[in-house]
C-alpha cells in the first residue's frame, strides 16, 4: 500500500498542472459531456437503423466497412473539429489581457503550458475514441473490414487529431482583438472542414485499397507512411514551436526555438531527400524541398521584419562574449535584422545545395531539366518579398516613430504596400485600354510576385526587377541592419546599486 501510495504521489507531482486543470474543467463543463452523449446517441442510432433495415441475404459484404466509415467519420468530426475548436476558444479567452496572469505569472514554462493544453485535448479525443470502440468492434463482426485496417485507421485518425489540436492551439495563442479572433475562427472552421473531408476521403480510399496486403511493401506502404508521419509531426512540431513563441514573454528569446527547429528540420529533410535523390535516381524531391523552404522563408521574412529591434537585459544576458559564436546567435536569436539574415542565409544555402547536387548528378534524373526554372522562381519570390519587407521597414521607420504608435505590424505594412503596388499598374493598364487578360499584358503584372508563374517566359525580367527592388530597399535599410548588429552584444553583469558598486548605465557610459 505504501509503495502504491508513493508511486501515485510521484505521478501526481510529475503530471503537468495544466493537464489536471483542463481535465477537471472538461469533466465539470458541459461541452465534453455534451459531445460524448451526442456521439453515443449518433452511434446507437446508426446501429439501430442498420439493424432495422437489415435483411438476410441482401448484404454485399461491405456493411462492416460502411458502418465503420460512418463511425470513423463521426470520430474525425469530433476529434478534428469539435475538440480543437473548444481548445482554441478556451485558450484565446485565457490569452485575453485581463486573464493573462493564468498563463504568465507561474513558474511554468511556455512549453509546459502548450504541452499541457495539447495533452489534455488529446486525452479528451482518446476518451471519445474509447466510447466509439465497442461500436467499431461490432463492425468487424459485420464483415467488410479487417482488424489491421481498423487499427491503422484509428492511428491515422489520432495523428490527424493531434495535428489539428496543435493547429487550434497555435491559432488560439494569437493575442489579437475579438474581430481578428472571429476572422481566425472562420479561417480555422474552413481549414478544419477541408481537413475533415480530406481525412475521411483519404481513409475511404486507403480502406478500399486495403492495408493488409501492403504491409510487406516498403514502396507502397512503409515509405509513404513514413513520409506522411514525418510531415505531420514536422508540421505539428512547427505549430508547437510557434505556439510556445507566441505565449512566451516579449522579453524572452522567442525566435530561438522556432529558428533552431526550422533549421534542424531543413537540415534533416534536405539530407533525407538528398539520400532519396542518390538511391532512387530522381531529382524532383530535392526541388520540392527547395520550393517548400522558399515558401517558409517568405513567411519567415514577413514575421522577422515585425520582430523587436532593440534587445532587453534578459536577451542580452544570453549573448555570448565570443564574437565568433555571436554570428550564428545573431541569426538565431530574436531580432528583426537577425531574422531577415537567417531567412536569406537558409535560402542561399538551399540554392547552393540544389546547384551542388545538380552539378554532381547525371542529366537523366527525373526533374533534372527543371532546375533552372525552379531556382529562378524561388529567387524571384524571395527577392520580391525581401523588397516589399524592406520597403515596409523603411516606411515604418520614417512614419511610425513620428506618430509614436505602440504596435509595429511591419508585416501588415508590407502586405498593404504589396497590394498597392499590385493594383496601381493594373489600374494604369486598365485606364490606358490595355487588355489585362492577354498573354502580352505581363508588363502590368511585374510588381505581382504570384504572376511570375503565369508568365514563365518572362521569368528573367521578373527576376531582374525583383533583385533590383530588393537590393535598393535593403541598401536604404543598411543603417537599420548596422544598428541592430552593433547592439548585439552581451550585457555587463548587473547587481543592485550600493555605494561601492557602479550601475549598468554608468559602466556602459564609461565604456563608451
Amino acid at each position: 500500500m505504501g509503495m502504491v501510495s508513493n508511486i501515485t504521489t510521484q505521478l501526481d507531482g510529475w503530471i503537468n498542472p495544466f493537464v489536471v486543470k483542463e481535465l477537471r474543467q472538461a469533466v465539470q463543463g458541459r461541452f465534453v459531456v455534451g459531445i460524448l452523449l451526442l456521439f453515443l446517441l449518433v452511434c446507437v442510432s446508426a446501429m439501430g437503423l442498420y439493424a432495422m433495415q437489415y435483411e438476410e441475404g441482401l448484404s454485399d459484404f461491405n456493411d462492416g466497412r460502411d458502418m465503420f466509415m460512418f463511425f470513423w467519420g463521426a470520430l474525425v468530426v469530433a476529434g478534428c473539429a469539435l475538440i480543437p475548436l473548444n481548445v482554441m476558444v478556451r485558450l484565446s479567452k485565457e490569452i485575453e489581457a485581463n486573464q493573462t496572469e493564468l498563463l504568465f505569472t507561474t513558474t511554468l514554462s511556455s512549453g509546459t503550458i502548450i504541452r499541457g493544453k495539447l495533452f489534455s485535448a488529446f486525452v479528451l479525443s482518446v476518451l471519445i475514441y474509447t466510447a466509439c470502440l465497442p461500436f467499431m468492434t461490432l463492425t468487424f463482426l459485420m464483415r467488410g473490414i479487417d482488424v489491421v485496417s481498423i487499427f491503422m485507421l484509428l492511428i491515422y485518425g489520432l495523428i490527424i487529431v493531434a495535428l489539428m489540436v496543435q493547429f487550434a492551439i497555435f491559432i488560439g495563442c494569437f493575442p489579437v482583438s475579438k474581430a481578428f479572433k472571429l476572422f481566425f475562427g472562420l479561417f480555422i472552421i474552413v481549414v478544419i472542414g477541408y481537413c475533415c473531408v480530406g481525412t475521411i476521403a483519404s481513409a475511404y480510399e486507403l480502406l478500399r485499397n486495403g492495408f493488409f496486403s501492403r504491409l510487406g511493401s516498403w514502396q507502397y506502404f512503409w515509405m509513404p507512411t513514413s513520409i506522411f508521419v514525418a510531415t505531420i509531426f514536422s508540421l505539428g512540431g512547427l505549430f508547437y514551436m510557434l505556439s510556445v513563441a507566441l505565449i512566451s514573454p516579449v522579453s524572452s528569446n522567442r525566435a530561438l526555438p522556432v529558428r533552431l527547429y526550422l533549421t534542424i528540420i531543413w537540415l534533416i529533410s534536405g539530407s533525407v531527400l538528398g539520400y532519396v535523390v542518390y538511391t532512387e535516381k530522381i531529382f524532383w524531391p530535392l526541388l520540392i524541398w527547395a520550393i517548400t523552404t522558399t515558401f517558409v522563408m517568405v513567411f519567415g521574412l514577413l514575421i522577422s521584419i515585425s520582430e523587436r529591434e532593440s534587445l532587453g537585459a534578459r536577451m542580452r544576458k544570453q549573448i555570448p562574449d565570443n564574437w565568433l559564436l555571436r554570428i550564428p546567435m545573431l541569426l538565431l536569436y530574436s531580432g528583426a535584422a537577425g531574422g531577415v539574415l537567417w531567412c536569406l542565409s537558409l535560402f542561399v544555402l538551399t540554392v547552393t545545395t540544389i546547384w551542388s547536387v545538380y552539378a554532381l548528378i547525371p542529366s537523366g534524373y527525373a526533374g533534372y531539366s527543371d532546375v533552372d526554372e525552379v531556382v529562378s522562381f524561388m529567387c524571384t519570390w524571395i527577392f520580391y518579398f525581401l523588397g516589399y519587407g524592406m520597403l515596409a521597414v523603411l516606411v515604418r521607420r520614417i512614419t511610425w516613430s513620428s506618430f509614436g504608435w505602440r504596435l509595429r505590424p511591419t508585416w501588415a505594412i508590407a502586405m498593404c504596400i504589396m497590394i498597392i503596388f499590385m493594383i496601381i499598374p493594373l489600374m494604369i493598364g486598365f485606364f490606358s485600354g490595355a487588355n489585362l487578360m492577354s498573354r502580352k499584358a505581363w508588363v502590368w503584372y511585374l510588381s505581382t510576385p504570384l504572376s511570375s508563374f503565369a508568365y514563365q517566359k518572362h521569368i528573367d525580367t521578373y527576376l531582374a526587377i525583383s533583385i533590383a527592388f530588393a537590393v535598393v530597399t535593403t541598401l536604404l535599410n543598411l543603417p537599420w541592419f548596422y544598428k541592430q548588429i552593433a547592439n548585439f552584444k552581451p550585457l555587463p553583469p548587473v547587481t543592485p546599486k550600493d555605494d561601492t558598486e557602479t550601475s549598468i548605465s554608468d559602466s556602459e557610459t564609461a565604456a563608451a
Binding site: Q10, P17, V20, Q25, T105, T106, S251, V494, P496
Partner: protein, 309 residues
C-alpha cells in the same frame, strides 16, 4: 528579503508610462503604491511581476534582477492581479490546487498547504464553489490565496480593495497585518487612501510616471509639512491662550476647533519646546500639546495635481 526598484523607465511608443522611479521596501513592510489613474502604478507592478520588461532601469528582488531572471524572481513574488478569471467549470479548491502544482509545491505537502491557505483566507466553506459564483470580495480572497499558496516572501497586490464592501475591506486589512507580522514584504496599489493609511508602514506616491514621494509614512508626513500644526487642549482659559498665542512671534493661523486650539508654526522643535515651557510658566493648565500630522489623503492631495498621461 528586499525589493529595490532602480531608475525604472518604461515607454510605450512615445508614451512614458514610468519615468526614472526608484524606491525600496523590505520584509515586514506594507508599502502603499499611490497615484491617480494612469500614473504608472500597474506598469511598475507588472514589471515587478515579470509580466513586462522595462525600457531601462531594473528591479531587484533579493538581489535578483527581474529583467534578467524573471523565472527566478517569480518564485519569490506572489502577484495578486486586480481581477480573477470567472470560470464556471473550476472550483475554488481546484483553482488553488492548480497554482500549488504550477509553483511546484511538493505532492506530499500540497493538500496540507492548500487547506492551510484556505483556512487563512477563510475560503474553507466555499472551496467547492465555482469561481463564477463568487462575489468580488470572495474572488479577492481566492486571488490572495492563489498568491500565497507557495508562501512567497513578497506579495504584490494590484487594487486589492477595489470593489470590496466595508466588511471585506476590514477583513483584507487584518489579513495584510498578519502577513506583515509573518515577515512578508507587501506592495499594495490602491486608490483607497484611508485604508492604506491605517495599515501601510510606507508609501510611494507617483504621478504621470514620476515619483513624487517615497519612504515610511512618518518620513513622508514629516517631509510634506515644513510648517507644523500643533494642537493644544487646556483645562480652562482657552480664550486667554488664544490671545497669548496671537502675541507670540512665528505662530500663524490660530483657530479654535471644539475644545482644542490649533496653530501653525515654522519654528524648530527646540522653539516649540520653549513655547510649551512658556505657556506652563504663564499658568495654563495644559492637558495635551502635540503636533498634528497630515494624513495620507492630505499629503496625496497636496503633492499630486491630478494629471494623467
Amino acid at each position: 528579503m528586499e525589493v529595490k526598484i532602480e531608475n525604472l523607465v518604461k515607454h510605450y511608443g512615445k508614451t512614458e508610462a514610468v519615468r526614472d522611479i526608484s524606491f525600496e521596501f523590505g520584509a515586514g513592510d506594507i508599502f502603499g503604491f499611490i497615484g491617480p489613474n494612469g500614473a504608472g502604478k500597474t506598469t511598475t507592478i507588472e514589471v515587478l511581476a515579470t509580466l513586462i520588461e522595462p525600457t531601462s532601469g531594473d528591479a531587484f528582488v533579493d538581489g535578483v534582477s527581474v529583467s534578467e531572471n524573471p523565472e527566478k524572481t517569480r518564485k519569490l513574488i506572489g502577484y495578486m492581479p486586480d481581477s480573477l478569471p470567472a470560470h464556471n467549470d473550476i472550483t475554488v479548491h481546484e483553482y488553488i490546487d492548480f497554482f500549488a502544482r504550477a509553483y511546484g509545491v511538493p505532492p506530499k505537502e500540497r493538500k496540507q498547504v492548500i487547506e492551510a491557505v484556505e483556512a487563512f483566507t477563510n475560503l474553507t466553506k466555499i472551496k467547492d464553489k465555482f469561481l463564477k459564483a463568487l462575489s468580488k470580495g470572495m474572488k479577492q480572497r481566492v486571488s490572495l490565496a492563489r498568491a500565497m499558496v507557495y508562501d512567497p516572501p513578497i506579495l504584490i497586490m494590484d487594487e486589492p480593495a477595489a470593489g470590496l464592501d466595508p466588511r471585506a475591506r476590514i477583513e483584507l486589512r487584518e489579513l495584510l497585518k498578519v502577513l506583515s507580522d509573518q515577515g512578508k514584504a507587501v506592495l499594495i496599489s490602491s486608490h483607497i487612501l484611508t485604508e492604506l493609511a491605517e495599515i501601510c508602514t510606507g508609501a510611494v506616491i507617483i504621478e504621470q510616471g514620476q515619483l513624487l514621494k517615497a519612504g515610511t509614512i512618518e518620513e513622508i508626513q514629516n517631509n510634506d509639512t515644513p510648517h507644523r500644526t500643533i494642537s493644544v487642549i487646556v483645562l480652562e482659559n482657552l480664550d486667554s491662550l488664544h490671545k497669548t498665542l496671537l502675541q507670540t512671534p512665528r505662530i500663524e493661523q490660530i483657530r479654535i476647533e471644539g475644545n482644542q486650539l490649533l496653530f501653525e508654526t515654522l519654528s524648530s522643535e527646540a522653539d516649540i519646546a520653549q513655547l510649551l515651557t512658556m505657556l506652563v510658566q504663564k499658568g495654563f493648565k495644559i492637558i495635551e500639546f502635540r503636533p498634528v500630522k497630515a494624513n495620507l489623503e492630505d499629503i496625496f492631495m497636496n503633492i499630486t495635481k491630478g494629471l494623467v498621461q
